[in-house]
């Protein structure tokens, strides 16, 4: 049975918001009444409030600053979060800002949350700076626990290199994160994998322990050029040529040389 309140914390850029959004849509698809609270007071970009319309249309209650304040770099937490936390009719997802600085926003609710059925999950991508191995991940967990005044009770293994994620990156990264979780004596609750990266039935992957649920991610926060997804990084595009222009004595446009040797 899932805990009613799931809190997603993690280092900056670990994938908290993408995981929280995908998890929220998953709960919706199961017919649950869901509220998501955007507690990110640190970073004014790529926050779950950007999906407010899509979430609302699915019946999700979105607790995030609206109007002008939605795009402000002000530490705003809207009223009502506590009410939803205490409302037994709602599953609540908390999308928390990065690092200990972000988790400070959570500490205001710690006394309430501590007495309720909850789980605080640390989202980890081992391909991010500072959290590449056991020491870095452990240090990040401890600082977030200190900031939030709550204990991390499980992990979300989110090993990825964005568009360049391969099955191998997922498997090797997951091993690093799983070993860290074991050393800390906490479970890996989810392994999140971008849709399309690994073929076949994800739940049957040989390296997944019992009890780990695979969360298939659909990226929700995309830059505009992905409107029609381009799989290739633009620099490696076969049509592109990067050049140093030789203006001096240049006669034809074919007289172009390649990118400055590094």
């Amino acid at each position: 049975m899932n805990p009613r309140i799931r809190i997603f914390v993690g280092a900056y850029g670990s994938g908290k918001t993408e995981v929280a959004l995908n998890y929220t849509f998953l709960l919706c698809s199961r017919g649950e009444r869901v509220a998501i609270a955007d507690l990110d007071i640190v970073n004014p970009y790529f926050r779950s409030r950007e999906l407010a319309d899509a979430l609302t249309s699915q019946g999700v209650h979105v607790l995030a600053p609206e109007g002008e304040l939605a795009t402000a770099d002000l530490p705003v937490i809207v009223p009502g979060v506590k009410g939803y936390l205490q409302n037994p009719d709602f599953s609540v997802v908390l999308d928390v800002g990065g690092d200990d600085a972000g988790s400070l926003a959570l500490s205001r609710f710690a006394p309430v949350i501590a007495g309720l059925d909850h789980e605080m999950l640390m989202v980890v991508n081992n391909h991010r700076p500072w959290t590449g191995g056991r020491d870095g991940i452990t240090a990040a967990i401890r600082s977030i626990e200190k900031g939030s005044r709550l204990r991390v009770s499980g992990m979300v293994s989110n090993p990825n290199l964005g568009e360049e994620t391969t099955p191998d990156i997922v498997e090797r990264g997951h091993a690093v994160i799983r070993d860290t979780a074991r050393a800390l004596n906490i479970p890996v609750v989810f392994l999140s994998i971008m849709a399309g990266v690994v073929d076949g039935n994800l739940q049957d992957l040989p390296y997944i322990d019992r009890g780990v649920e695979v969360l298939e991610l659909r990226r929700r926060l995309l830059p505009p050029w992905y409107e029609q997804p381009l799989r290739m990084a633009p620099q490696r595009d076969q049509w592109s040529r990067i050049m140093l222009q030789e203006v001096r004595d240049r006669e034809t446009s074919s007289d172009q040389i390649d990118h400055r040797p590094s």
Binding site: Y45, T71, E227, Q228, L244
Partner: protein, 349 residues
């Protein structure tokens, strides 16, 4: 080396450290705070120094001091903060000091907003007071940002001139995979620095020239460096220009939006290509001038700033049109497709 998933700001900071930058002086402003934050943590690990200055003006004078003693140094800010740094940067240019400055632009004028914008093309390529230019590099991917930062330190030393990395919210905040190349340090003449004069006459690093004739000479010497930049440092990318009848002009990530649009337009049989300036100063004039196209559509997240350089480049031979979004609104590939389709159907010349 294994790749990392990095925000642009983090990649810029890490590339600087790998290029030998051990000093960073800055002041917070969104959307570039991750650069000083990363530096405050990372420089500590490598024995460098990080100072959060009391203002942007102070930070730009601190980099002056650091460069004058021969250190590799960087500062970063965003549009209004760059305005404040302009005084110190002009002094750096006048004193011929190698410094690297990162400008993660935001919407303006005034306090504006914090969403992506290219509102500072002018104040970057044609900066504050005095006759001078920084060498301006505009990445369109996080990988390119990391590569260009490493080059920026060498270019600053090569020309003894400020070099600016120009990005905005998207470059600063989004995450992409990055691999850092092995940085190969080059030797530069540092005999002019003020790092102790035992056994030789003292060096003076100054931009004050009271004799007009000497100041004129100094200005000419600085502009000779810019002429050399124009010959040797111009960089750009072309995309599907070989058979193009129409050309889009865009820099930074706007060029990536254009590429998505071009894929769609090509499917419709509209032969459109793209020229993406990578150096904004020196501007890639020749490639625009030599493009045999019916028209150029300049696309920016501004009211039209780079378009002036595109027009100067083509010298009236090719019509140059404009499409822009401002205030932090990022154009979509669809909008660009619609605009080009419209121009194509109306037979715009």
């Amino acid at each position: 080396m294994e790749k990392l998933m990095m925000k642009g700001s983090e990649a810029i900071a890490e590339a600087a450290v790998r290029a030998g930058c051990r000093l960073f002086f800055g002041y917070p402003i969104t959307p570039q705070n991750e650069i000083p934050e990363y530096m405050s943590r990372r420089l500590f690990e490598v024995g460098g120094q990080f100072v959060q200055a009391e203002s942007e003006v102070a930070a730009s004078n601190m980099i002056y001091g650091a460069a004058a003693v021969g250190a590799r140094v960087m500062t970063s800010s965003s549009s209004p903060g760059i305005s404040l740094k302009q005084e110190g940067l002009s002094y750096c240019a006048g004193s011929e000091l190698p410094v690297v400055v990162v400008n993660i632009m935001r919407g303006g004028p005034g306090l504006g907003g914090i969403q992506p914008s290219q509102s500072d093309y002018w104040q970057s390529t044609k900066p504050g007071h005095g006759d001078w230019h920084p060498l301006v590099l505009a990445p369109s991917t996080i990988q390119e940002a990391a590569d260009l930062v490493m080059d920026a330190f060498d270019l600053a030393d090569e020309y003894r001139n400020p070099v600016m990395i120009l990005g905005y919210g998207l470059i600063g905040q989004m995450m992409e995979p990055v691999a850092f190349r092995e940085y190969q340090p080059r030797e530069f003449d540092k005999s002019w620095t003020t790092c102790g004069c035992k056994g030789r006459p003292p060096n003076i690093v100054n931009s004050l020239y009271l004799d007009p004739n000497i100041l004129e000479e100094h200005n000419h010497a600085i502009f000779q460096k810019y002429e050399r930049m124009k010959r040797e440092e111009v960089r750009f990318e072309t995309f599907r220009m070989d058979d193009a009848r129409f050309c889009l002009a865009a820099y930074g990530t706007v060029a990536r939006i254009c590429k998505t649009a071009i894929a769609q337009l090509r499917d419709e049989g509209i032969k459109v290509g793209l020229i993406r300036p990578i150096t904004l100063f020196p501007f890639p004039e020749a490639v625009f001038r030599e493009a045999r196209v019916r028209w150029i559509l300049d696309i920016e997240m501004s009211m039209g700033q780079m378009i002036e350089d595109v027009r100067l480049a083509v010298r009236g031979r090719t019509p140059v049109h404009f499409y822009g979004r401002v205030g932090g609104v990022v154009p979509t590939p669809d909008e660009i497709v619609r605009k080009v389709r419209e121009m194509y159907k109306e037979g715009v010349k």
